[in-house]
């Protein structure tokens, strides 16, 4: 049991080191107002991790969701949330607001 415990402990320690290695990421902001995202098209550098702050200026909550980006996050009314995306291959990645799908949509372009 001792030997296994040591191996497990080492593995977890190694995992902890690699995962907690937070690299500094470029920051961008998207705003929600009247159930619309702004800017509707956001350009970010490809191949880099990006920190997206979504500010919801509407009183009702919105869900930032994108299959292509593999993210979904609920942002409460009059609050903000953070979503990390990337590194992305160059291309267009559409996203939408699940609660107001007719008007809330946008694209993230990685270049």
């Amino acid at each position: 049991m001792h030997k296994t415990a040591k191996i497990l402990a080492a593995a977890i320690f190694f995992l902890a080191l690699t995962t907690l290695q937070a690299m500094a990421a470029q920051e961008y902001t998207i705003t929600i107002k009247d159930h619309k995202f702004s800017p509707e098209t956001l350009q970010i550098p490809a191949g880099e991790k990006v920190k997206l702050t979504i500010v919801n200026n509407d009183p009702s909550p919105e869900e930032f969701e994108s299959y292509e980006l593999n993210r979904e996050k609920i942002i409460g009314g009059n609050s903000k949330g953070v979503v990390f995306i990337g590194p992305l291959e160059p291309g267009s990645y559409p996203y939408f607001g699940e609660f107001n799908m007719d008007t809330a949509k946008g694209t993230i372009v990685a270049k």
């Binding site: 049991m1 296994t4 977890i12 995992l15 690699t18 995962t19 907690l20 593999n70 609920i74 990390f84």
Partner: protein, 511 residues
Amino acid sequence: MLSSAIVVFREVFEIVLIVGIVLAATRGMPGRGCAIALGFGGGIAGSALVALFTESISAMAEGVGQEIFNAGVLFTAAGFIGWTILWMKRHAREMKGQFARLGQDVANGKISYLVLSAVIALAVLREGSEIVLFTYGMLAAGQSPALLLTGSATGLVAGAGIGMLLYLGLIRLSVRVFMQVTSWMLVLLVAGMMSQGIGFLVAAGIFEKFTNVVWDSSWLLSEQGIVGQSLGTLIGYTARPMAIQIFVYLLTLGTLVMFMKLIDYKSLSAMRASAAALAILALLFPTQAQATKKVYSPYVEKGELELEWRGGLTHDDDDDEADGAWEQKLGIGYGFTERLFLEVYGEVEKENEESAEFTAAELEAKVQLTDPGEYWLDVGLLGEYKYNTADGADKIEGQLLLAKDVGSFMHLANLVLEREVGDDSEDETEGGISWSSRYRYNEAFEPGLEIYSEFGELSDMGEFDDQGHSLGPVVYGKVGSFKYDVGYLIGLSDSAPDGTFKAILEYEWHF
């Protein structure tokens, strides 16, 4: 009117049966008549109290929460009646013996007559309260009180009459057939009550999802006519059902039928029948009597309510127990915060040549530790307590959940540790790794691969063939609010079953 007749008939019939059995079991005992009458009276009095209680709540709810009250009554009545159907089915056989023993114990002075009275009182109380709740539910559903009264009176006379004739030996009837037929009718009734109840919640504005009307069959059969109304309470017919009503109806039906068939475990044909019944809910795959195969992601969504069904079937040429064994789990879970998701499950297993058993109840907690994409790996934790209801000890399991997106691929890894606890537990900690890789082609279709390695007892792992290793193709996807996870795992080591079909189906809401 027919529905109240049936419900009252069935309840009264059951009461008369129970009282009859107890009378027969205590034949010749002095004063037993008094004890039984006391119990009977007590049960009736209790039911009258339930009626008063319900009436006063109803008065309070008037206007303010009438719909909520109606929904509550319908759900409670449905739950009671549903539980009785299953309980009766399970215990009907044992009842005679149990009551005979009860009678003997009283005769031997082991327990007092009071216990006899109490048993009768409880049975009468249960049946009585069901009648009360059902009546309120029907009134809530808009049934005419006059019709209800007529129906109940008919049921009362029929139930008491037939029951007494049976007891007195004046007629011979297959009680079993009676119970079976009325059970099935009650199942439809309960499903209808549940769907009506959810309709009230929608009317009250509490429930807002999936309220789109799926079809309008009022041209075929109007809800207002006599036939329509009878069908309304009998099987829950609505001319303009909402999607959520259909869903609740099928879910209730499926669940009750599944449990009823499982209790009826006598023959393989009963098993096949239950397979057909569950086709409504999911693909039925019998499963391996080991843990149902699922690779977890570390993500939690706040406000997500999830209904999950898991099934698995194994076949194995070398291991008779595993050949044709299956396991199913049904769970319901909720994302309480952005980081914490809790789910409870019930598990049913069947090993080859044995009968199906309800084997465990589980509580699972998932914690999301990091934000997706924030670090090199996304990390979460899973903890599970498995309360064993069959032979064997309880189990605790802990998993480290890891995830990573690489382009259009998503990889998951779970590091698993489990240990038995409590009585009958073995002093060993077992470990394993589960892995999943998938290509995120589109939301509805993601082909992938899963690998499961169970190393067994960590301090004494044994050789490759002693461990459980399987690997195989799995397809994932999301269609509307349904998520699926279906695959076939091939056994790589001797200890693992040759093949395992697995299927996981989830339905999500947001609150």
